[in-house]
C-alpha cells in the first residue's frame, strides 16, 4: 500500500513523501493522537548540531502517539484495537542491557521515521493495548510517561532502601510525571519538587512539598534525587542535588543537555554517590505504564493537567502550525488530532 509520510526536510520545513507498506508483514496502525516532544522541537527549530541534522533529515518526527489497528495479517490484534506504539526498535537481544540502551536499537523520530505518517507499519511486539475509556489526549503521551516509569524502575533496582525523602529537580512535563509516579509507586516516600516557577510548582499538588531553587530550607536533606531539568539548567540542578543529598544517595539524570555539564566529582566521591543516566524506555516500561493507568485512575486524571493545546491536523500546513503553537507553550503537551 502506498503510504504518505510527512518528513522534516530542514528546520521549519516539512515535505510529503510516499513509501510502500507491505500489508502482509507487521500490523498496520492508523495514528489518531500524537504528541510533540522537546526532542522533536530540537529538530524542528534546528537547535541540534548541524552535523546531526544533516545526517538525520529528512525524517518524519514524533515518537509519542497512539492509534487504532486497521489491519493485522498476523492476527495478534483486531481491527479497531486502540494501541500505544513503542518507538524503540531493538535489533538484538541482550541478557544484561535494556533494549533502550542497546546501540543497535533504532528509535522512531531519531534513527527511523517517526509517527507523522498516514499509516504506521509496526511489529506486533511494539504495540501495547490501551485500557478502554482512557482519555486519548492523555494516552497520546504515554511514551513520555513510560520514560518516567523506566526511571523509577531503574531507581528501584539501583537505589538503597532508605527512601524517606526523594527530590525531583524541574518544574516541566517530565518533572511533573516523574514526581507523580514516584508518589504513586513509592507512597511511603516524601516527594519534594524543586523548580524556578512558583506558578508551575503550584500544579504539583500531589507532591509533599515544592520549593523554588532560590529558596531551599538550609536543613533540608534528601536520600535520593531525580534531575529532570536538562539544557542550561542542568549544571546548577546537579550542583544543588550534590549539596543536599545524603551519603550513598542516587542521582538519576533524565534531563537532556546539548553540551557537556561540569559536575562536582569531589563531593560525589566524598559522599559515595551513585549517579546514573536514564533515557527513553522499552516495551516492559510501556506495559507497566498501562497497568498503572488501569490500577490507579488518578494517574491519568493528574496527567490530564498536562494536556495543553490540542490541534486538529487536517492538512499538511496544519503540522507546521502545530509545531509553531508548541514553541510558544510554557507548560504542558501539544496534542495533534491526526485526521490527515
Amino acid at each position: 500500500m502506498i503510504n504518505t509520510i510527512y518528513r522534516l526536510r530542514s528546520p521549519r520545513r516539512f515535505e510529503i513523501a510516499f513509501d510502500e507498506l507491505d500489508l502482509s508483514s507487521g500490523v498496520i496502525v492508523r495514528p489518531t493522537h500524537l504528541s510533540i516532544c522537546n526532542a522533536d522541537q530540537r529538530y524542528y527549530q534546528g537547535t541540534r548540531d548541524i552535523r546531526v541534522l544533516k545526517e538525520k533529515l529528512p525524517m518524519a518526527l514524533i515518537h509519542e502517539g497512539i492509534g487504532q489497528v486497521v489491519y493485522d495479517a498476523g492476527g495478534s490484534f483486531n481491527p479497531g484495537d486502540k494501541v500505544v506504539m513503542v518507538p524503540n526498535i531493538p535489533c538484538e537481544d541482550d541478557p544484561y542491557i535494556a533494549e533502550n540502551y542497546l546501540r543497535t536499537s533504532k528509535f522512531c523520530g531519531s534513527s527511523a521515521d517517526g509517527f507523522l505518517q498516514e499509516y504506521i507499519c509496526i511489529e506486533p511486539e511494539r504495540l501495547v493495548l490501551l485500557p478502554e475509556g482512557l482519555d486519548p489526549d492523555v494516552a497520546a503521551f504515554t511514551e513520555l510517561v513510560s520514560v518516567s516509569v523506566h526511571a523509577v524502575t531503574r531507581f528501584e533496582q539501583i537505589a538503597h532502601a532508605r527512601r524517606n525523602d526523594i527530590g525531583v529537580w524541574g518544574d516541566g512535563n517530565l518533572a511533573f510525571i516523574t514526581s507523580l509516579l514516584l508518589k504513586k509507586m513509592l507512597p511511603e516516600s516524601r516527594i519534594h519538587v524543586f523548580g524556578i516557577s512558583r506558578e508551575k510548582l503550584s500544579d504539583f499538588s500531589f507532591a509533599d512539598s515544592t520549593y523554588l531553587t532560590t529558596d531551599i530550607p538550609e536543613d533540608l536533606q534528601l536520600d535520593h534525587a531525580f534531575e529532570c531539568v536538562g539544557g542550561n539548567g542542568s549544571p546548577i540542578a546537579i550542583e544543588q542535588i550534590i549539596d543536599l543529598i545524603r551519603p550513598e544517595g542516587t542521582i538519576s539524570i533524565l534531563g537532556v543537555s546539548e553540551y557537556p555539564v561540569p559536575v562536582n566529582t569531589r563531593m560525589i566521591l566524598e559522599k559515595g554517590l551513585r549517579m546514573f543516566g536514564t533515557s527513553r524506555s522499552g516495551k516492559a516500561d510501556f506495559l507497566r505504564t498501562v497497568q498503572l493507568y488501569r490500577d490507579d485512575p488518578e494517574i491519568p486524571m493528574y496527567l490530564s493537567r498536562l494536556v495543553g493545546n490540542t490541534v486538529e491536523i487536517n492538512t499538511y500546513p496544519d503540522i507546521k502550525a502545530a509545531f509553531e503553537i508548541d514553541t510558544k507553550k510554557a507548560f504542558g503537551k501539544t496534542i495533534l488530532h491526526w485526521n490527515i
Binding site: I2, R9, F14, I16, L23, I28, R30
Partner: protein, 236 residues
C-alpha cells in the same frame, strides 16, 4: 453498509504506448489497481471492495489481486458496464443481489488509477455521504479556466469559484440509482461523472477537499510522475 467501488473500466486508449489498460501498468513492481485497492483494504468500515473491470480483463484483475495483494475475501471483481455510470449501476445491482440495498447504503466510488488517495479523503467522503447523501472530492483550481466553443473565449469564470474534480465521489447508493433511472436518454448522454446525475436533478452534492497529489494516471506523463512520487519527495 458501506462499499468501496473501484472503477477499473478504462481501456487504456489515452495511454497510447500500450494496449494494456492503464490500471494494470506497474509502479514499484505492482499494478496501479493493486495500489489503489490497498488504500481501501485497511479501512474496516468497508463491507466489501467491489472492483469493476472490463469483461475481458475480469480474470486478469482477479489474478493480479491474488498475486500482488494476496487472497482476500473483502475484494470482489465484477464486470463493468458500457459507461462509467452504467459501471456504477452494475456495482449497485451487485450490492442489491449479494447484500442489502437500503436508503443508508453508501458507495465510495473511486478511479482505479488514483492510488495516492489518502485515509482522510476516504473518511471525509464516508462522513459527507452519510450526512448529505452525496459528495465529490475537489481541489481549488490553480489554472484560469476558459470557457469556449472551440474557436474563441466565451467566458472566463471567476477562478475562486472553480474547482478541479477528483475522486472518490460518494453517494447514498439507492438515491443515486433512483435518480439515474429518472434521467432521460439525452440527459444520460451529457453525463461526465456520477455527481452530475444528482446535479442535473437539483440535488445537493457536498465538497470534500482532495489533495494535489491525488493524481489520476491518465497519460504516460502521469505515470512518470506517479513513479517519481514513490521515489522522491514533494517540497513545500
Amino acid at each position: 453498509m458501506i462499499f468501496a467501488v473501484i472503477l477499473a473500466g478504462g481501456t487504456g486508449s489515452r495511454m497510447g504506448v500500450s494496449d494494456t489498460p492503464k490500471q494494470f501498468l506497474e509502479i514499484k513492481g505492482k499494478p496501479i489497481l493493486n495500489h489503489t485497492i490497498e488504500k481501501f483494504l485497511p479501512n474496516p468500515r468497508f463491507e466489501k471492495i467491489i472492483v469493476l473491470s472490463p469483461k475481458k480483463w475480469v480474470h486478469h484483475t482477479k489474478e493480479i489481486i491474488r498475486k500482488h495483494t494476496g487472497k482476500t475475501d473483502r475484494v470482489a471483481v465484477i464486470e463493468g458496464g458500457a459507461t462509467r455510470n452504467e459501471t456504477i449501476m452494475n456495482a449497485i445491482a451487485y450490492i442489491e443481489r449479494e447484500f442489502t440495498l437500503d436508503d443508508d447504503t453508501i458507495i465510495v466510488t473511486h478511479d482505479s488509477v488514483r492510488p495516492f488517495v489518502t485515509h482522510r479523503i476516504i473518511e471525509e467522503n464516508i462522513e459527507a455521504a452519510i450526512r448529505t447523501g452525496a459528495c465529490d472530492t475537489v481541489i481549488p483550481a490553480t489554472d484560469t479556466i476558459v470557457e469556449s466553443e472551440g474557436v474563441a473565449i466565451a467566458a472566463i469564470p471567476d477562478r475562486r469559484r472553480m474547482y478541479q474534480g477528483q475522486t472518490p465521489q460518494s453517494f447514498k447508493a439507492k438515491m443515486l440509482r433512483d435518480t439515474y433511472m429518472s434521467l432521460s436518454d439525452g440527459e444520460k448522454e451529457i453525463l461526465t461523472d456520477a455527481a452530475k446525475i444528482l446535479v442535473l436533478k437539483g440535488k445537493t452534492v457536498s465538497l470534500v477537499r482532495g489533495e494535489t497529489f491525488n493524481i489520476k494516471i491518465t497519460y504516460p506523463y502521469d505515470l512518470k510522475i506517479a513513479r517519481s512520487l514513490l521515489e522522491e519527495e514533494i517540497h513545500d
